[in-house]
């Protein structure tokens, strides 16, 4: 049995171990998914309006805030892409994979994993009903995208648990 976990390896590094082959394949696809961040739907989701009705505020906001946000998202993706070059077989976990990276990269991992989930959600028009689906047709791109959103979400959830295991106020 494969046991996916996200744990401190030592004081300076985090280890994701027990990564099933299917999730490892998805992680390798992350850079490709993240490149879709500038598609119109994904861009609208990643750079939402700050007000519901004020066109002036929204326009000014996008001019000022979007470049900084985009830099944050691109930078997170680049960090994770570099870390993923160290993805190797996890010999203690059968047919699994593992990757270690500096603890300072945790925010970038959380950002990139969530970015990828949101981008998949927008590109494939995944709604609440689709997220509640329990049967997945391998021939359906939408179903497979929803499955990827769930699996990447499980990994993201492990990062959240890692964060909450630390002293309140001190975040990784």
């Amino acid at each position: 049995m494969i046991d996916l976990s996200v744990q401190p390896l030592d004081e300076k590094r985090i280890l994701i171990s027990g990564i099933p082959s299917v999730l490892a394949a998805m992680l390798r696809e992350l850079p490709e998914i993240l490149e879709l961040r500038d598609s119109p739907d994904a861009r609208a989701r990643l750079h939402p309006n700050p007000t519901a009705g004020s066109d002036n505020i929204n326009r000014e906001w996008h001019q000022l805030a979007d470049p900084e946000l985009r830099h944050l998202f691109v930078s997170a993706g680049e960090t994770v892409t570099r870390d993923l070059t160290a993805l190797t077989a996890d010999k203690e976990n059968g047919d699994a994979w593992q990757v270690a990276f500096p603890i300072e990269h945790v925010p970038a991992w959380m950002n990139a994993l969530n970015q990828a989930r949101l981008i998949l959600g927008e590109v494939h028009k995944i709604d609440e009903a689709e997220m509640n689906r329990t049967d997945f047709d391998p021939q359906s791109p939408k179903h497979m995208a929803a499955l990827r959103v769930h699996l990447l979400g499980y990994l993201l959830h492990l990062f959240v648990e890692l964060d909450s295991a630390h002293e309140p106020g001190k975040h990784i």
Binding site: N49, I126, M131
Partner: protein, 102 residues
């Protein structure tokens, strides 16, 4: 602000609205909207990080977002509201701000 207005009639004054409410002093609400993708645990974590809320409050607000579709997560001055919305967007939450009572 309501100010007294001279009517010209001895002893009679009228209290009237002479200028609009001071909009600058009106608080702004920061609203977080539900979306089908963001994890509930992730949203609660973001509320703890951005606002410094204790876990119980963060989870209550997260559940309100999930169940009611939106939650007023903070109210106060405009500049701080803008800062919070920007931070929430950096965590990829759907957040907007609006004038209180708008």
């Amino acid at each position: 602000m309501a100010l007294p207005i001279e009517t010209g009639q001895p002893g009679v004054i009228v209290i009237g609205e002479t200028e609009p409410k001071d909009e600058l002093s009106m608080p702004w609400n920061v609203i977080v909207h539900n979306d089908p993708i963001n994890l509930m645990s992730y949203v609660a974590m973001v509320f703890m990080r951005v606002f410094g809320y204790p876990r119980a409050r963060a989870e209550t607000l997260m559940l309100e977002v999930h169940q009611k579709g939106r939650s007023l997560v903070w109210s106060g001055g405009r500049e701080r509201a803008e800062l919070y919305v920007h931070q929430l967007h950096s965590y990829q939450l759907l957040a907007t701000m609006e004038k209180s009572g708008a």
